[in-house]
């Protein structure tokens, strides 16, 4: 292995500077919350500054050692989002406690301290992954094992008795000994790894064989197997777990990876047809889906007085926020049920306004763009598919959530990556960050190509895949 060539900067100092900048923003946000709520800042400010600072610094130091050439934007963005999420969760704790004191609503337990614990656990998983997985290509060896684990996690809540798995009508949880885990959050990463690996193996046949219809190359019927399998699994999740969001996300992810791997747009068409068919069938068959759609369309009709309450409150919050928002701590996002999990985006929209929300979206877009950049730069096809898939996962999840709370699409009940309260989501997304950093490190590390190729290194066709990601 050759020594790093001096002209390739590690850019770790950029990361450190951005980290500090991120923490400054978080501290300012917490200061704004306390100022608006109490008229002065308290010692909480130190806590809400030091948690993201500590998490960021620990991660930074380790990244310096084990992934020195990793992308310098990804970690600061996650620290910023995680920190802002903590501030908003804290702010919602204050609002809900105030409500409880006034006799409206139950006295809820403060969620911000718990979220700090989840942050620590997420950080631990992040460190474990980035230290253990020194080369992402190693993951290919375990692709089928990971897929099995992922499927198991996905199916587990459906086969478990409802009392262990059902929360608010969706059976996507495992509740044991006071803890609740949403295994789907972990499954999504495991299945992304598997899909990336599988498609690298099968891409030749999936992209070359086929017949031409109306000038478009369609795959052969027998090659549709993997896509149909993914579709069946997603329908299964939807039917068994009443989880619109997760199934939509998985299917979207798989179609997108197929497209990236094969460069055949026909896969997207086939995927879309399957999606429409599945959506139509489930709409016809299941009352819950019909209700969601009906609430979405006729939100303000008297018939949806109760089941449309949450979405209406979300829209009221967003509308009240307007262009500039009420200011952090000065609005009433606690009026929306589940403000810290599914609806944290409307909490931000109310208090930071359209400007603040767009800024948040831009931060996410930056994260996704850096993920795509890593996918473009990395030299192995598995790495490309993995980085693109993980980035797209964040993008798709964000889209589904924001579209849901702002009534662009029916609600699906997903969490907002890194912002929302919830251990599973936060921890899983920290794992996702570790993998993305690993791929980006490999992309920029000098002399990486001269490394001894692993046994299952694929035939290099970087130009094709790169073109699809960048288009």
């Amino acid at each position: 292995m050759s020594a790093p060539t001096p002209e390739v900067a590690t850019r770790r100092n950029t990361e450190l500077a951005l980290l500090i900048f991120a923490v400054v923003i978080v501290v300012a946000a917490e200061g704004a919350v306390e100022g608006a709520r109490n008229g002065r800042v308290s010692s909480h400010l130190v806590l809400y500054g030091s948690v993201p600072l500590a998490a960021g610094l620990i991660a930074h130091v380790v990244v310096r050692r084990v992934a020195a050439y990793a992308d310098p934007f990804l970690l600061p963005i996650v620290v910023l989002l995680n920190g802002l999420g903590l501030v908003m969760i804290h702010r919602l704790d204050l609002g809900l406690a105030q409500q409880a004191k006034e006799g409206i609503g139950d006295s809820a337990q403060a969620e911000a301290p718990t979220q700090m614990v989840w942050t620590a656990v997420g950080l631990a998983l992040f460190l474990a992954i980035i230290m253990i997985v020194r080369d992402h290509r190693v993951l290919r060896r375990y692709a089928y094992t990971l897929a099995l684990v992922g499927l198991f996690l996905l199916v587990l809540p459906i086969v478990l008795p409802a009392r262990f798995s059902e929360v608010n009508g969706a059976r996507i949880w495992i509740r044991v000994a006071g803890f609740s885990i949403q295994p789907g959050e972990f499954a999504k990463i495991l299945l992304t790894i598997f899909a990336a690996s599988y498609l690298v193996d099968k891409r030749d046949v999936l992209s070359l064989a086929g017949r031409r219809v109306f000038g478009i190359d369609f795959p052969r019927g027998r090659d549709l197997g993997p896509l149909v399998a993914a579709w069946v699994i997603c329908i299964g999740v939807l039917v068994g777990g009443h989880d619109l969001g997760t199934s939509l996300m998985f299917f979207g992810l798989f179609v997108v990876l197929l497209y990236i791997a094969t460069e055949r747009f026909s896969w997207v068409i086939v995927g879309a047809v399957l999606f429409v068919a599945g959506a139509y069938a489930t709409y016809q068959l299941f009352g819950t889906v019909q209700t969601r759609v009906s609430v979405w369309i006729d939100l303000f009709s008297a018939a949806h007085n109760d089941d449309g309450y949450q979405l209406r409150q979300s829209l009221f919050g967003l509308g009240t926020g307007g262009l500039f928002g009420t200011g952090l701590g000065a609005g009433h996002p606690e009026l929306v049920p589940l403000p810290a999990t599914d609806y944290i985006i409307s909490s931000f929209g109310e208090e930071l306004g359209l400007f603040g929300l767009v800024a948040l979206l831009v931060i996410y877009v930056l994260f996704i763009a850096r993920g795509f950049a890593a996918a473009l730069a990395v030299r192995d096809s598995f790495g490309k598919l993995l980085a693109a898939g993980l980035s797209f996962l964040i993008g798709l999840q964000l889209f589904v959530v924001v579209a849901g709370v702002s009534r662009l699409l029916p609600e699906t009940g997903l969490t907002t990556p890194f912002l929302s309260y919830g251990g599973s989501s936060l921890i899983a997304n920290y794992a996702l960050l570790a993998l993305l950093l690993r791929v980006s490190d490999s992309a920029r590390r000098p002399g990486a190509t001269s490394r001894p190729a692993t046994a299952d290194a694929d035939v290099q066709t970087p130009s094709e895949t790169t073109a699809v990601i960048g288009s």
Binding site: G35, G39, Q98, Q99, K101, E102, G103, I104, V256, Y259, I260, R312, Q313, L315, F316, G317, L318, G319, T320, G321, G322, L323, G331, H332, L335, G349, G353, L354, L357, V358, L361, V365, I368, A369, F372, A388, F392, G395, L396, F399, V402, A403, S406, R407, L408, V468, I469, G470, S471
Partner: protein, 510 residues
């Protein structure tokens, strides 16, 4: 792929623009959006003040809505304040009319709001200082006792409203609490859809036939027309404006005017105008209106007094007072009735007070107003209402004669119950040198129960002049306070209330 993400983000941005900007106002002000109320209730609303004391103020609470509106003497001032309700809003009174100042949202308070934001002070609303006189208001409310009706008093020289009482009343505090269930229950107990609901503002928005009170206007028009107050005018027992003779048929229906209960006025053929006025002879004034004054002149005079057919704003809305349609002035039978305040003539109690005030003020009618000052939260004065003349109902010389006629009504006519006697003045030095004038009225309700008309409404409009200075004008209406066909009973019901208000007001002025 990157472009696919771009398209998704673009879709989100367009939709967020739609939700937050295009539909923003509609969502912000949607009735289902509690944020509006929470924000409004999180700042203290300004006070409504009577002579330095609040009649409406916001008090801090411990619940989600940080301030609660209380009305220390709720029912007494309800027609002036209105209420401030979570459930029913603020549709009435100064709470409605001065909402911008009280809530702090008025544009003139922008600087103050900005200052609050910059300095971190809690924003609050401005206050409204009314023209009311606490003693007059309380006396009016007490004197009305359990009777239905209204009292309005004003300063004849300025138009400042000194008292405005409406009964039955309600307690605005009970509609302004934070207990929505209790609010709703109380609201229902007020029978909001009933035409006699306590929520009806009898002082400002209810109109009544003025009955004989109209004779003040008819007399003014007659004086303008050259009729002298001691001139003998026809005062028969019955008057047939379209021609005819003999007593009016008992069954009614004919175009025939008779005096109350078919009484004789003076000698049965003629009477001096002053006497006809003091005794409130219908035939004399009907005939004056039809044969002497004419519809056009009477209409013009009524308009000068304020019966313009237009509503006013003091800034609490006051319903329009009207003499009726053009045909009520051209058709002789109708004009005969119009001349004595029947037919389609309708006035508010505020208008009643304006009639007496104009006469007391040398013929100059003043624009009524309820708000003396609007103040910013820092107590600096935003506006101060300057008295405004509406016009001249009579020139000063003729007005003096009309004033004299009205004094005659209280001295030895139908309104003696309003008299402030030498004995009263001896007991209460502040009543020395006071002369009261006025006019009673008895207005048919036109409401029949079991074929019998309900007792008529009793009117008294009058004024008090002390040592040549007009002090106060009062209008009192007691619903169903009279006895059918008897003018005197109306005077007996309404005039003493006017007297109480006059005494209380003069007693309070130091």
């Amino acid at each position: 792929m990157a472009s696919a993400v771009g398209v998704l983000v673009l879709a989100l941005l367009i939709n967020l623009n739609y939700v937050q900007v295009v539909k923003g106002d509609s969502y912000r002000n949607n009735p289902g959006n509690r944020r509006v109320i929470l924000t409004e209730y999180s700042t203290p609303r300004g006070q409504i003040i009577v002579q330095g004391n609040p009649i409406a103020e916001s008090q801090a609470t411990n619940d989600e809505l940080k301030y609660v509106r209380v009305y220390p003497q709720g029912p007494v001032y309800a027609p002036v304040t209105g209420f401030y309700s979570l459930v029913y809003g603020k549709p009435y009174g100064l709470e409605h009319a001065e909402d911008g100042v009280l809530g702090g949202t008025d544009n003139r308070l922008f600087g103050s709001r900005l200052g609050d934001i910059l300095t971190g002070r809690d924003a609050k609303g401005g206050s409204v200082v009314t023209t009311l006189n606490a003693a007059a208001q309380q006396a009016a409310y007490t004197a009305m006792a359990k009777q239905k009706g209204a009292v309005v008093a004003m300063d004849p020289t300025t138009g400042a409203i000194l008292a405005a009482v409406s009964l039955p009343s309600y307690d605005p505090s009970l509609l302004s609490s934070h207990d929505t269930a209790a609010i709703t229950t109380y609201w229902k107990s007020l029978n909001p859809d009933d035409p006699s609901s306590p929520l009806i503002n009898r002082a400002f928005t209810q109109t009544y036939a003025p009955g004989s009170v109209m004779k003040v206007i008819t007399s003014a028009a007659a004086l303008k027309d050259g009729v002298k107050i001691d001139e003998q005018i026809p005062a028969p027992n019955s008057y047939w404006p379209l021609g005819g003779s003999g007593a009016c048929p008992k069954a009614g229906g004919a175009a025939c005017i008779q005096n109350f209960d078919g009484e004789t006025c003076d000698n049965g053929t003629t009477a001096s105008m002053a006497l006809a006025f003091a005794k409130s002879c219908n035939t004399a004034f009907a005939q004056l209106g039809v044969e002497k004054i004419g519809g056009n002149a009477l209409g013009a005079e009524a308009k000068a007094f304020g019966l313009t057919g237009d509503s006013r704003s003091v800034p609490v809305p006051v319903s329009a007072s009207t003499i009726g349609s053009q045909s009520d002035l051209t058709d002789k039978a109708a004009l005969a009735q119009t001349s004595i305040g029947q037919r389609d003539v309708r006035i508010t109690p505020v208008q009643g007070a304006m009639i007496a005030a104009a006469v007391a003020n040398g013929g100059t009618s003043m624009k009524p107003y309820l708000v003396d000052q609007e103040r910013a939260p820092d107590l600096s004065v935003l506006t101060k209402t300057e008295p405004e003349q509406l016009g001249q109902v009579l020139d000063a010389t003729l007005d003096q004669q009309l004033e004299q006629m009205m004094v005659g009504v209280v001295q030895n006519g139908t309104g003696t119950a309003a008299q402030i006697t030498a004995a009263d003045a001896a007991k209460n030095p502040s009543l020395k040198g006071v002369t009261v004038g006025g006019k009673t009225g008895t207005a048919d309700t036109g409401v029949y129960v079991n074929g019998v008309q309900t007792p008529p409404h009793a009117w008294f409009v009058g004024f008090a002049v002390q040592n040549g200075v007009a002090k106060i004008a009062v209008a009192v209406i007691v619903e169903n306070g009279g006895v059918n066909g008897n003018e005197t009973t109306g005077g007996l019901a309404a005039a003493p209330i006017a007297k109480s208000v006059i005494e209380a007001y003069l007693g309070s002025a130091k």
